[in-house]
Every structure is written in C-alpha cells, then in structure tokens.
C-alpha cells in the first residue's frame, strides 16, 4: 500500500530530515513511528501522506509514484488519507458539525448524505451531543476526538496521526489511542507518530503492530 525506497528528504538550507529510508506498510497495518523530537517523524508522515515530495528515492502510495504525480493530482491522492494533527488544526469559526463537514464538502458530498455521515463520525468519538458546540468550548481531549471525527468522516483507507496524544494526560491519551485502534480493527491502515511506544498495547493488536523507530532521520529498528 505504501512503499518507501531509499527516500531522502532535505529541506532547503538544512540537513537531511530523512536519510535513505526504505520500508513498506501493508493494508490494515498499525504502525507506530517513534523517535525523539527532531528525529524526522513529522517529515516521514508528511512524505507518507503526500504533503511533501521526496528529494530523492521513490514513494509509492497505492502504486502511484508521488514524485511523478502532477500537481493537479495531489489533492486526489491526499483524499486517501485521514489526517490528525498534533495541533488539531480545527477551524474555530464554525461548530463541531461544520468542522467535520469540511472533508465531505471537499469530496462533493453534501446535504442529507453528508449529515448522516457527520453524525455517525461524531457518534463514534462520543461527541454527538456537542455537534452545535464551538471547538473552543471543548476540552483538549474532546478537540482531539473532534479532529479524529473529521479525519475519518470521509472513510479514508489510511489514517495518519501526528502525536495525537502529545498534549494530553494519560487517561485522555489512552482514550484517543483506543479509538484509533478501533479503526485498525475495521481494516483501516493506521499510522501514529509519537515519542515512544504507549505503555499498554491491547493484546488483540499486539501482533499486528509495526514500529518504525527513527533516529536522526534514519530507521534503527
């Protein structure tokens, strides 16, 4: 599904953020990308989600070479992904319902069909009762759950979460992680970046977890 072959990413005027990295992610995998700050986790996720293009090497997503994609095709590639950002990137000028509606609007899904799916996504993260609330009125954990609802509402094949638990206390973090695991259980490929592996990984998924450990832009495990 996602294949990296000797991928290097260098930002202008800087060292290599990712160095000659090769790996493969299969459909339905649960992948943890771990490493200290500055190890290149975010860059790796951006390469995976087609937000950045590699400086050298090839990134294949669904057998499409990202480097060779036309700019106009990039948006359609990105629609395969549900993105969860560390800073949520919620829109604070609209309520929860409208925040979750954005990906559907982008996909041209509107009206009743959209409303049904938005409520289903909000229900899945336990925010159905707050659809009319503004994001600013939500707690940190709730905001992150809203971000998850927005990421999954268009039913992407791949879910990418950049430090989804970074700012949360342990209870909230476990809460968020278990909802991400739930998507892996229904066949979604889930890719999570975090400082370290979570202390407790449920037994039923222990055997499917893959770990990509990064150190100074290189894979160590």
């Amino acid at each position: 599904m996602i294949k990296f072959d000797r991928v290097t990413k260098r930002y202008p005027g800087s060292f290599d953020a990712i160095k000659k990295t090769s790996f493969e992610i299969e459909q339905g995998d649960l992948v943890f990308v771990t490493g200290a700050s500055g190890a290149g986790k975010s860059t790796l996720l951006k390469l995976i989600a087609g937000i950045e293009r590699p400086t050298s090497g090839t990134v294949l997503i669904n057998n499409q070479n990202v480097s060779q994609l036309k700019t106009a095709a990039i948006p359609y590639l990105r629609r395969n992904f549900g993105l969860i950002f560390q800073d949520h990137k919620l829109l604070y000028d609209r309520n929860c319902f409208e925040n979750v509606a954005l990906p559907l609007h982008i996909n041209g899904i509107l009206g009743e069909e959209a409303a049904k799916r938005i409520r289903a996504a909000l229900d899945k993260v336990g925010l159905l009762s707050k659809e009319k609330s503004m994001p600013i009125a939500l707690s940190g954990g709730e905001q992150q759950r809203l971000a998850i609802a927005r990421a999954v509402v268009s039913r992407p094949a791949i879910l990418v979460a950049d430090e989804p638990t970074g700012n949360l206390d342990e209870d909230y973090a476990a809460d968020i992680l278990s909802s991400l695991y739930a998507f892996q259980q229904v066949g979604v490929t889930v890719i999570i970046a975090s400082h370290e592996l979570p202390h407790i990984i449920p037994e039923n998924i222990q055997n499917v977890v893959k770990v990509l450990q990064l150190q100074h832009g290189e894979l160590t495990a």
Binding site: T71, P103, H105
Partner: protein, 302 residues
C-alpha cells in the same frame, strides 16, 4: 446531478451567509465600486445625450453651391438632376440669380447696396441640405460638389458643428482613459478586499489543502464573492447614475423651458446598462481571481 449542482450552490450560500454576517462591510464595498463605476457612466450619459442633440437639430448645416456666372441652363439642369439622384442629400432648393437679386432689393438692410450696383452681381445658387451632418461627411460632400461642372464654389456652413463634434470626440477619449484607469482601480479594490478575506480564512484554506481540496474548490467561494461584489457595485453605480440624471433633469428642464427646448437627459439604453453591469461583474471576478491565485501560490511555496 444533485451532487454536482450542490458543489456550486453550497459555496454560494456560504458566501451569501458571510456577506449577510458582515452586511455593512459588503454594502460599503458595493458603494465604493458603484461610485467608481458611476463616474465614467455619468460622463458617458452626458456626452451621449449631447451627441443625440446634434442629431436632431432644426437648423441643420447647409451646403451652398454657387454657380459660375456664365453657366448655361442645361448645366443647371444637369446639376439639379445630380442633386436629385445623390444618395447623401435630403433636399435642395434652387435660387436663381434674379430671385436673389429681387430679394436683395426688397430687403431693407441690403436695398441701399443693391441700389448702388448697376447690374446683378449675384450667381445662381443651390442650397443643399445633406442627410448626414457628420463633419467629415460634409467635407467629403463639399469636395465632391466643388468638382462638378458649372460650380464656382461649394461652401459649408458648419464650423460650430465641427467644434461640437470635436468636443464630443474629446469627451469620448476622456471616457476611454477614465474607464481604463477606473477599471484597474476596481480590480485593485476588489482584489484587495478578497485578499483581506483570504487572510482571515487562511487557516481554512491550509487545512482544506492538506485534506485534499483542489485549488478550484478553494477558489470557488472567493470568485463568487468577487463576482457578487461586482454585481452589487454595478447595481449601486446604476442607482447613482439614475439619481444624478433625475437631479440634473429637474434643473435642466427649467433652463430648457426658457430656451423653448425639449432637451432632457435620458438614461443610456439597455445595451449600455448591460455592458456596464457585465464589466462590473467581470472586473469583480478578475480581481478576486488574481488575489486568490496569488494566495494559493504563496501557500504552495510553504
């Protein structure tokens, strides 16, 4: 089909909603555009009306053909025949030298002069009223008739109409320059308005791009906003023009009545109004297109 239509209606209703939220701002922008548009249109209306006045003047300019003194009757008839057939001539009148002489003797102011002359010095003459009174056409007609056999001189009595025509031409040039300058100003005004809106929605644009929005999707609401501003501005401009014409007419009729004239300013015809609205919409679209493309290019760089 419904889905396809929705992707155009949804951003439109979103834009309308935002405009309603910021009603005062939207109205002010429309006013600015309207006032800018009204300047050249008011000028155009005045010039256009002046042009129409010259078109239906009662004392149209005349061409006077003075014949040679020794001209024969057959030549006179030939000229008369030529005038009758000529497509550019409305009517003509022949005044023989005898009748002119008679008139001169009867006229109190010229009777003394005629008494001091012992023979008729006047030539036969044709007084020609042409159909077309454009100065250049008059000039051409005059040159043509000057060449005719038996014609001593062909004179045009149309200096004032030439002057008026020059003024109107100058006015049209002024409008042309004004339209171009104000068009650029409008693109800038609308572009800047849209740029400010983009800045307040930069987050939304960035997030949308990250989760797979095409540039077209992002552009659409801003293009709609620019177009709507253009339309609103066009209508506001029309309103201003109408108000000015009405205001002007109340005082113009007073003056016109004093001169026993029917002159009134009239609104430009539907074509002109349509062109004005369309150009306003076009400029609005263009201004927002430029602004949103610049913003998208900037985001793509990051």
């Amino acid at each position: 089909m419904n889905q396809w239509l929705n992707q155009y209606i949804q951003p439109l209703s979103m834009v309308l909603g935002r405009m309603r939220q910021n009603l005062l701002g939207s109205i002010l922008i429309c006013c600015v555009i309207g006032l800018t548009l009204s300047l050249p249109t008011i000028l155009f209306t005045i010039i256009d009306n002046l042009g129409q006045v010259t078109g239906n003047l009662e004392n149209r300019p005349q061409l006077n053909l003075f014949l040679k003194l020794d001209v024969s009757n057959s030549t006179k008839e030939a000229i008369s025949e030529q005038l009758k057939k000529h497509p550019g001539i409305n009517k003509y009148e022949f005044v023989s030298k005898e009748s002119a002489w008679e008139q001169m003797q009867q006229n109190a102011s010229t009777a003394e002069i005629s008494a001091s002359l012992n023979k008729n010095p006047l030539p036969d003459a044709f007084f020609v009223t042409p159909k077309d009174i454009k100065p250049e056409n008059l000039q051409r007609l005059q040159k043509e008739m000057q060449q005719w056999d038996g014609v001593e001189s062909a004179q045009v009595d149309a200096n004032w109409i030439k002057r008026l025509d020059t003024v109107i031409k100058l006015g049209k040039k002024v409008i042309f320059v004004l339209v171009i300058l104000l068009g650029i100003a409008l693109i800038t005004i609308i572009g800047n308005t849209i740029r400010l809106q983009i800045m307040t929605q930069l987050e939304e644009i960035e997030v949308s791009k990250l989760i797979g929005a095409t540039n077209q999707f992002i552009r659409r609401p801003f293009l709609y906003a620019g177009t709507l501003y253009g339309l609103g501005g066009g209508l506001a401009g029309l309103l201003v023009l109408y108000a000015v014409v009405q205001l002007f007419n109340t005082s113009v009729t007073e003056i016109a009545d004093l001169y026993a004239s029917q002159f009134r300013l009239s609104m430009p015809n539907a074509n002109i109004i349509g062109a004005m609205l369309l150009s306003a919409i076009g400029l609005g679209w263009m201004g927002s297109f430029v602004a949103v493309n610049r913003a998208l290019a900037k985001i793509d760089q990051v």
